[in-house]
Symmetry: C3
Subunit: 666 residues, 3 copies
């Protein structure tokens, strides 16, 4: 984990794009801006190894020494994110291929197949050289493996991958009989009599085998993870004491970050909310912070990249207005970040990202609003050492499961179901309510939670049902929704009534699904006599012990249950059989939270985020006013001194527009 | 043709997906559900021939014997729809390629090029083994060739296809001079001096040669048909007395079903209307029944596949509400089906179609609404032996011509024109009016019809004009519409005035076409003083003997004819020069039908289908109330006993919501 | 340049598509229609060289002799636009490939890679044969190189192109150091150590290097231009006195027509406005005439192709109503065309363009409205010899710069910005105002202009800033808009404040860009107290000598300048920092024009075009009424005789609907 006693501040630094004369100014400006950490070398392979085996580190030595002289630490990259042109020319077969067999060429970045031995060996060799060379340099305080693994090449389908896939399958299934059973190859005459008959799910006439597709996602996530692990292990051989990370990308679908997170010392991610997305953008960004923190087991994480002003890859890239970058930065810190970094230090003058904002813009530092805000924030963060290492503690977990996501994205199902959006809808309730929440895997550790939600957990891997059963039996509250408990890890349907193996604890079984066409409204009648609406889908539920909190009144099955509750052991299990509207969902979840004594730290109007970080006996209450109007907040008995202004607050407090408070609670 | 004395009922049965212990339950449940026919082996190749030439039929023997013991007959498939993995590995060149040269790989189904000798020989060998092995088995009452030919791979562009295309062209044209003339290769310097210079219409810089494209469609349809014929002939060698089919797919574009239908003993098709499509879905489904019956020369056909509950391949797959599956089944029977089958018997637990509904759903038979409806219908159909072999007789034909469809889909024309939608608009009139209608080919047998409609018959093959002339001269009524009679079978424009060779019998010639932009309305003034609207297109028509029933009043050609009528011989020829709105089209067609004494069997409100089936002296009047309200129907003098309820009806009758009557008319 | 003493009239003639018996009728009808020039041989390669090196010109001799006997001249094509099938079969590697490596096959046209030596040599050999054979034929009055270069294949990415690209880069950069610097290859580790490591910008994982992309566009434009130049030079060897052209396509993006225009003796283009596009279609068509004239240095150009009635490649191809083709023809002449030609003479009966209109339609000449209008116009043009050689003289130039267009189309930038649409918005003001305008390149000759507009000139090549400075210093008025002066020719950002090297003459510098999301309105307050709206984008401008004519009132930077004016030397420089609405843009430009005494020749209502052509002491005033109502025009002191009617006009005149006047001014 991170070993900091202060908050990190800085960004990606690409000195190789600039003459050395600029480096001195960079170091000076970094000091001005309170920068204490830069990520270095991410795209330096060609400069570090301009010809095969010819390593040239002198320039990087000079950069790191200069930074060190200015008191700036280094997050040193393994520089393997973009292989150099000579490597591609020598081994063109390392280029990845899409499902059509189309080659992805060099000329941008990430043009490598993870199963290419040529790429793998060259990357490992460079990593080893760097680790050996810089193992003792005092400026290097952490390592950064590669960069945004998979962001452009979410999969490769080449012959090397095919061979590696066969090896992976042999390790998973041992026998072809087991594979044939798992993949259901009796369907459509897909039975395999020889391992060599198996291929990646390349372009096919129609829908490919679902289990093959899911296994290929698992395999490919593992393939890239193996790259990461190789570099990780080389670094750990040389600098076992330094923390290592690779930058994640929030709700990135291709890789199973729950698996990946086991192989970093701390988590980090790159955050690029669209300033035009308003409150929803803030909520989704908060969710990604929560995910990153959760992936790291609750330990402090780093905001590895954000932009100072505007990105360059959206159709319209509006500026963050004054103050917004600061608020975004504090949102990260309030949710567990121990550092705030930018892509990048100095705006590039050439290349595909030259219009991407930076800490030092094209106009230069001196007369730039953006640099002023950057430097102001940097100096401010220097006063917040007390926060370092403190943690956010949540009593609520939301299951976010990657293989389930992959399964719900397969072509053929009762209806299209956007898993991520649905999970974020549930997170949104807790975001709005200022209740802390973690994201957990279906087979993770739920012991700290009072409430776990598992929306649309279609694929229930072996053993997960028993984990849920234990959680509820021991007093936990569990909530799941339609199309859950349908399949096992091989995407085989559990027969005999849907909800399958969790049917018993839910106290229901589902006979049929009835997806609804867009625009068709289902009427929901609640036990308390109130009414609401639902849409998109409804299950046809049979009660088997549960009670119906609400029923549908306009379906062909009269009064079919829409929401059920079942007491099981010491806990409760809820089931939502239809897509309730947001108001009804909020009402139900509020009621559940009340029952569980889950309460926000303050009473605040919409647009104000309130979160707590804790360390030993210290508690820090963050209040962020994202609105452009003053916000009247009731502190509900809390009192303390604001770390930013030094002022004391108790009772009520009025936050100015865009104001942030960090109360060190008494 | 079919040789049944009762109606068939059953579905696709895939026992290879289940342990043998389930087979006994299957047989028992089939009896419960009145199943008397199952389609077997469609995707069993890998199981029947797990290694090259190693045939393993014992398991299938056990299945068929078991079914036979339970009185269930078998529609035995040739099992060639999805080649096994070992065949692909041995001959990867059998994989098809799209126009870009992208290979379609194994891992789904239908991954074969029809011109691959390896596929062809392996499929023929398997078919021969099956035919020999099961030739004497009493349970096997019909054969099922392959499955849904072409549904995923509508074309292949590989080098084998290129070579086969050259052979096909040599057979068609004999000389390159003839080909160059037919293809108009003087255009764009496309002249061929050697057969080897000719390729399939792969991806080109811009629009490919139209005649080449049409010929490639003809060739490819023939290529796949050759696969079918090879298997058909092998089966006929062994069991000349058993009827053979392959399942069609309604209005499927890539293949010329008029050609194909000559090579089956009876027609069958797979019907999947969307329950959310309402009345239009029913009308289109009825049209596809009419097409299937027409392709089979009016003989009874089989509904080879439908779903009990919901499919899994639409974005939203809503349930059929209770009763709808039964109504859909009777719609098929009322339009000439002698059997109703489902895909599939037992819902798969794995594979790409595991969420597709079945007769026995995942929840099992015992507590399933769906199974109850399936079983109720099966038992009901057992009481309807009297219907077997009866026929629908139509006095109206609609020309539906595949090469014309292909021609209208070419890139370059006066305006996009959706042939299928337009043809269905004309069918819809007759559907709503409860008037029976056949679909006919442009060069089919029209002798039984009083009225033939040929909407948008752009490509008029040599000789068709004379067939139309004879039909009208002998007293027939013919109606065609704008952009008809434009080209010959090589897509050469007939010069000297459009409508070309049928200009004389229509009594008009067309000087220009004026396609209209979306939203522009043309005003139509009728000879009787009434007005209506038109859109999309208008011809600039010159009368040459015909009279104008309506003219356009707001075109730059003042009072250009919109609808014309011409007496020719003993008959009449109508021409619609613009796209009339639906009300005007209905009015015109109603008037024509009145003139021809074409009359519905009953007076029924909208949503009630009325059709007649006849056999020897028996006549069966079907009345289907698709609405959720009672329907008051005037029987117009008909009277008879309802085969379902045993009750007698005459005069008027009230159909309950969703009720079906089948009156055996006195 | 053209050497005509009369206006040309005719079209593409493709006699090889017709039997010789039709040729006689063609010649006769051409005489009837006033045709005096046909383009011949454009797609005749296969007929002229049916086998390698076997040239067959006898048929073409007969055609040209026949035309000559009828007084019809020939624009003889080099016939290289569509290589014959035998050449493709012999050298399949000449087929082009897209960025995915997908081959574009034969079967349509333009299926060649410009860097294929096989194509190049075969094309040159054919050209040489034609030039030698027809060098002395009196009917041949001009040459037509290839046809619509690049219209379907805007780029090729094959290995030959890769090799040629390396050669081109060596010539441009000499050293890899220079290339690495120019391309900014320090970014994303793209540094090249060997020329062989460089490839075309094929499909990459994400955004390719911008400078590589721009250079590939330059290279590819040059590659195709080299084809043209080769043929041009061969022809000039044989017939140095005959003018040579290749037909351009208006605002065609892939090639830099400013470069190309240096290599033709006169310009020509193919004009296909959509009759459903209304006045905007007319304005854009007028702009393309202005562009073609400008590319030719103001000399008369040819309208090489238009359609008589309707094209066939749009989704809906409406007819030109009676009179519209004549108006379109006079629009061309009024803007500098010395000839009006059609694609094509006789409508094809086969092939991909058989539904494309022609001078002689499918119905034949005799009873065709279209042919009547064609012949009427032909005869009318015979009376307008006086116009030949006269010129349009503009005092306003609009910079239209191809590399800038390419740069603005790159993936990554502050916001999507449709350069062409924006340029056309500025042209539209002058079109509506009946003020003549030229299009100029950023580094062209601006000496004749009082006002030059350079909208969105992001890429400012080295030296252009000094040219602008000189132009303004010497008294010119210059107007540019946001996102100008940002990069150099290698797409390197000019640092230190945007507007970069033209910051001084504009009297401003720009700190940031703030692209606006769709629908967000910026409020503009003008110095005169009026208000208007803006959208899409605003710069955050600092005044440095300029004055603000308008400011934004609702941006987070209060009163940030929206429009600025700066006196520089004897001239003025305007800057638009936001996208003003059309009314405000019109008001500002009107004011600038008034200041410069730029005035329309007449006062006319909307829908009437007024232009002047001049020759020696003659001036011809064109008045075109595109509306369907009479138009009252004030001649503002002009008087003269209408060349068409012979009538004299002065003071005011009323134009009938769709009337054209051509006043020979006194």
């Amino acid at each position: 984990m991170l070993q900091n006693t202060h908050l990190y501040y800085g960004g990606d630094y690409n000195p190789e794009q600039w003459p050395e004369s600029v480096w001195q100014e960079d170091a000076r400006l970094m000091q001005t801006a309170g920068v204490n950490l830069v990520s270095l070398g991410i795209f330096s392979w060609a400069k570090l190894e301009p010809a095969p085996g010819q390593y040239e580190f002198a320039w990087l030595d000079r950069v790191i020494d200069l930074l060190h002289q200015h008191g700036i630490s280094v997050d040193l990259a393994t520089a393997t994110a973009s292989p150099p042109a000579w490597l591609v020319r020598r081994y063109p077969e390392l280029l990845p291929q899409d499902a059509n067999g189309t080659v992805l060429h060099s000329g941008s970045r990430q043009h490598y197949c993870p199963n290419s031995p040529h790429y793998r060996e060259a990357a490992a060799a460079l990593t080893r050289q760097l680790a050996e060379h810089y193992r003792h340099h005092p400026a290097v305080v952490m390592w950064h493996i590669n960069n945004e693994y998979g962001c452009h090449v979410a999969s490769c389908f080449c012959d090397r991958c095919a061979a590696a896939f066969r090896g992976w399958l042999k390790a998973r299934y041992a026998t072809l009989d087991a594979l044939n059973e798992a993949w259901g190859t009796a369907f459509w005459s897909q039975w395999y009599g020889d391992w060599e008959e198996i291929f990646p799910p390349r372009k096919t006439p129609t829908m490919a085998n679902p289990a093959q597709q899911i296994d290929y996602k698992r395999f490919y996530s593992d393939s890239v993870l193996a790259l990461h692990r190789r570099e990780y292990e080389i670094i750990k051989e040389h600098t076992p004491g330094l923390p290592v990370t690779t930058n994640f990308m929030g709700f990135f679908g291709p890789f199973d970050y729950h698996q990946w997170a086991r192989h970093v010392d701390f988590t980090s991610w790159d955050s690029y909310p669209d300033p035009n997305d308003g409150v929803n953008g803030l909520a989704v960004n908060a969710a990604a912070h929560d995910l990153t923190r959760s992936l790291g087991g609750g330990k402090p994480f780093l905001l590895m990249e954000q932009v100072s002003s505007q990105v360059s890859w959206r159709p319209v890239n509006s500026l963050k207005p004054p103050g917004q970058m600061r608020l975004h930065s504090y949102q990260a810190v309030s949710r567990g970040a121990d550092g705030v970094l930018f892509f990048q230090w100095r705006a590039a003058r050439a290349g595909a990202e030259k219009y991407h904002g930076a800490m030092v813009p094209h106009v230069g530092a001196e007369r730039s609003r953006v640099f002023r805000e950057v430097a102001d924030l940097g100096r401010e963060l220097q006063t917040l050492d007390a926060l370092a290492g403190s943690r956010v503690r949540a009593k609520v977990g939301i299951v976010f499961d990657y293989p389930n996501w992959w399964a719900l994205n397969l072509e053929s199902k009762p209806a299209q179901l956007d898993y991520l959006s649905r999970v974020l809808e549930y997170h949104r309730f807790f975001y709005d309510a200022n209740l802390p929440v973690d994201f957990v895997s279906a087979d993770g550790d739920w012991s700290g939670y009072r409430l776990v939600l598992a929306p649309h957990l279609c694929q229930l891997r072996t053993g997960v049902d028993e984990r849920i059963r234990t959680f509820v039996r021991d007093g936990g509250t569990f909530l799941t929704t339609y199309f859950s408990g349908i399949t096992d890890e091989n995407e085989h349907v559990i027969l005999g009534g849907y909800a399958g193996k969790i049917s018993d604890l839910l106290g229901i079984w589902v006979e049929e699904w009835d997806p609804q066409p867009p625009g068709r409204i289902l009427h929901v009648q609640w036990a308390d006599g109130t009414h609401s609406e639902a849409s998109d889908w409804c299950d046809l539920v049979h009660l088997q012990g549960a009670s119906a909190l609400a029923v549908l009144t306009n379906h062909f099955i009269s009064k079919t249950p829409a929401v059920t509750q079942n007491a099981y052991g010491k806990g409760q299990a809820y089931y939502l059989a239809a897509q309730l509207d947001a108001a009804a969902r909020t009402k139900l979840l509020s009621s559940i939270c009340r029952d569980l004594d889950l309460e926000a730290p303050v009473d605040a109007p919409p647009g104000v985020e309130a979160t707590l970080r804790e360390k030993n006996s210290s508690r820090f209450l963050f209040l962020l006013n994202h609105t452009n109007t003053p916000a009247d907040v009731c502190l509900k008995g809390h009192a303390g001194r604001d770390l930013l202004s030094g002022k004391n607050h108790n009772g009520r407090t009025i936050l100015a527009p865009q104001e942030t408070l960090i109360l060190n609670l008494d």
